[in-house]
Point group: C2
Chain length 465, copies 2
């Protein structure tokens, strides 16, 4: 991978862009530039030179072709809910928003599939799909677009049962840097026909191509759902219970760890959780009896491992309130630290290593003498730790703790990012995690984007800050 | 992709190979060459110049490095159970057998994972894993190696519930053409860290690298299993029932269609099936009650759709006999046509298109006036059709029927291969199925194997016969 050099925007290129997307879909106004200069994470904002809203796959391809010819960076944008700066236009150029490609193209009822434009927010999609009794399971929390979820391989609280975004997509339309528009994957759920380009583009964070449409796998909305909360005296007991529940083979639909500090944040968000290390769980089933049996086993395991309280509910409103509080916990935390930013961690390890990861994280936080809020998709071995910072000094402390925990995760056979993607923040760990494989990734990047126009400054250490 | 030119084997190169693998692991004897010149499918045999058995990942890498320097083709080999000529050394050179890398490296009990050498046959592995109460779900039938299954993304009768090989692998060691040995994927079940090289190598049929080790996902052996057989008056009723069962959301673990002709073959193999279009089904559950509820719904659906008989059994011996007969049905068919070869089809479509596919296939077979045996993983929209042929004329007829059915599958939004891979036989349909994406595949092939030494003559139309 060579270092790319870029051309600054010119009036002529702006005219060419306008010719592609129309005047109403292009802006250089400060308000639009600012709105698309940062995501929800702690990374520094950076302005694009122009914001362009594509309204068709062909327009996306045409924008890329033009940008490629003129060596102008293009950063794809869903709705900006990323956390690792994945969609910050760090090299300026074109911010290519997919927000106006937000329609369902076709519901394939009998196949439990839907084809959508990439800019469709997944919660809005699931609302529309409810009338068919179907839903798209991955659930990152923020109302991300389908394209953003796929580009970052987003996951969330239901991944322990239903898999991540990559497990729930069949086919995509992708615009390449040179303006070719290709189709990858198949609506057939089985395909052994050539290289799996589908999964090469999923999780590539817009650095290999821009996803413009996707056909997703859907599932029938489970008839029966029960949520459960178990409180423990110690973090260790809670974490060991996670391993025990996973080891039991019970197919939980959510298995979340919430530390004490985060119980306060969740209660502010409308939950009612006692201030203990807590597990939030959910079981889904088409069978009421199965669900009852499963939750009984879960309760037994929790109590065996020392749970001080265990409460289960199948009440819809109560369940909804609980998961809403979980979803907005990050925002609540931000509000609780006005004027500060939050360094948010995202690492994952094999489940057997989860207790060691959490113990290591606690140690690192204590040693640094800072505050860290932990919550995580424990069933997946995934933890998020939120470290508020204000000035340079507290930033550097948070960053040091972050680094120690990431290296711990890697040493435990895990990954530097379970679901937030690499973006800017994790690029400097890619060498350590992937070794020689990173060079293969670099070669593929050079092959598909020789001018380096696609989302520059992401994934690879040489381009990141 | 440029046309590769190869060097013939020399005594000096044989000496170099011997230095890598040792004298006991290299042979130019006719018996060894012949044994590795064909697979179980109808494609013509072709001899390698030498058979080499690697016994470590490093040896595999060293063999590739040597071959790459000298422009010698290398065809990786599991146990030769492929059907599309995927492991036939059509350009001669080195046949690189993985058969002697057949050990379990580590069972990760708490993580439900196992790390194995690529040459481990999956049935043998599952036998060893039984003591832990765990199993690897993909089940192609023949006792293929794990490496072969991953390289071809094999699937089988349990894929409708548990997914194909690609869905059940987490991490692999891969030797590249230039002798680099890389690790792809992670033992963490969640990973959003860079490009998904894992799935790029899975299904690449040894044309991008050679898989030497793999960490697989395992599941607890289900406590309760019930098999069911439903017989229908017509093929249409049976096929519409498949769509109805899939549409019900019942999580069947097998949903197989067997046509009348194949019921005879299965009965020769030890089953006891009435001569009707038949569905074979299985339901797995940790809960006896769930299984009973599910199978009751399946029965109701079958009867609603016109089943003339429905029989369910949870008897272990009876179930085993049934699936054994299904597994050996292809071999039985071969024995029933002595002196003939079998042209075996493998296409898959979205489930809603399955009735149209089967109707189209029947039409094509009838129009050609030949015999075709159908059976398929109907729950996945996957069908296999076996067309016996003897002379050139009957071969051409079978091939014509094959082509008509493949084009039908593609027109229905399906794929030219659901699980057998492209190999030699499907290469000429790749352009039609993938369009411009095939050029991206070509570019990736050239990138990772610039000298074209890795399993030449497979996947791409320009290299195939």
């Amino acid at each position: 991978m060579t270092t790319a050099t870029y051309t600054a925007m010119t009036p002529a290129i702006l005219d060419n862009l306008t010719a592609i997307v129309g005047e109403a879909n292009l802006s250089t106004a400060a308000a639009d530039i600012d709105l698309h200069a940062h995501d929800e994470g702690p990374h520094e904002a950076h302005p694009a030179e122009v914001v362009v809203w594509a309204t068709s796959s062909q327009q996306v391809a045409d924008v890329l072709k033009l940008a490629n010819e003129h060596h102008i960076p293009v950063t794809p944008w869903g709705v900006g809910t990323g956390l690792e700066g994945n969609s910050i236009p760090v090299q300026g150029g074109i911010l290519l928003s997919m927000e106006r490609m937000n329609q369902i193209i076709e519901v394939h009822m009998e196949d439990f599939q839907v084809t959508v434009q990439a800019g469709m927010p997944y919660m809005d999609m699931n609302e529309q799909l409810a009338r068919y009794g179907l839903f798209f399971p991955p659930d990152p929390g923020a109302n991300a677009t389908v394209g953003g979820m796929l580009a970052n391989n987003a996951a969330g609280i239901r991944t322990v049962k239903y898999g991540a975004s990559k497990d729930n997509v069949l086919k995509m339309k992708v615009a390449l840097a040179d303006g070719r528009l290709i189709t990858v994957g198949s609506r057939s759920i089985k395909q052994s026909s050539g290289y799996d380009l589908l999964h090469l583009f999923v999780g590539s964070e817009g650095t290999l191509g821009v996803i413009t449409e996707a056909t997703l796998k859907l599932l029938p909305v489970p008839e029966h759902m029960v949520a459960a909360i178990a409180a423990f005296e110690t973090v260790e007991e809670a974490i060991e219970t996670v391993v025990a529940i996973r080891g039991s083979g019970i197919d939980v639909a959510a298995l979340e760890f919430i530390d004490v500090t985060n119980t306060y944040a969740m209660n502010q968000g409308g939950a009612d959780i006692a201030p203990y290390p807590t597990l939030l769980m959910e079981v889904h089933s088409a069978h009421e009896s199965t669900m009852a049996e499963d939750i009984a086993i879960v309760q037994e395991l929790c109590e065996e491992m020392g749970a001080v309280t265990f409460k289960a509910t199948s009440d819809h409103a109560e369940r909804k309130k609980l998961w809403h509080a979980r979803h907005i916990a990050y925002e609540t935390l931000m509000r609780n630290h006005p004027g500060k930013r939050i360094f948010i961690m995202d690492v994952a390890v094999p489940i057997s290593a989860y207790p060691a990861l959490i113990a290591g994280a606690h140690e690192a936080i204590d040693a640094a003498g800072i505050v860290g809020y932990m919550k995580g998709h424990a069933g997946d071995g995934n933890i998020h730790i939120e470290l508020p910072f204000g000035d340079e000094e507290s930033y550097l402390k948070a960053r040091d703790v972050n680094d120690v925990i990431i290296r711990k995760a890697l040493a435990l056979g895990g990954t530097c990012t379970g679901e937030h993607g690499v973006g800017i923040g994790k690029a400097r760990f890619m060498e350590e995690e992937h070794g020689e494989s990173l060079n293969v990734m670099r070669d593929i990047k050079s092959l598909l984007d020789p001018n380096g126009i696609l989302n520059p400054g992401k994934i690879f250490p040489e381009g990141a800050h």
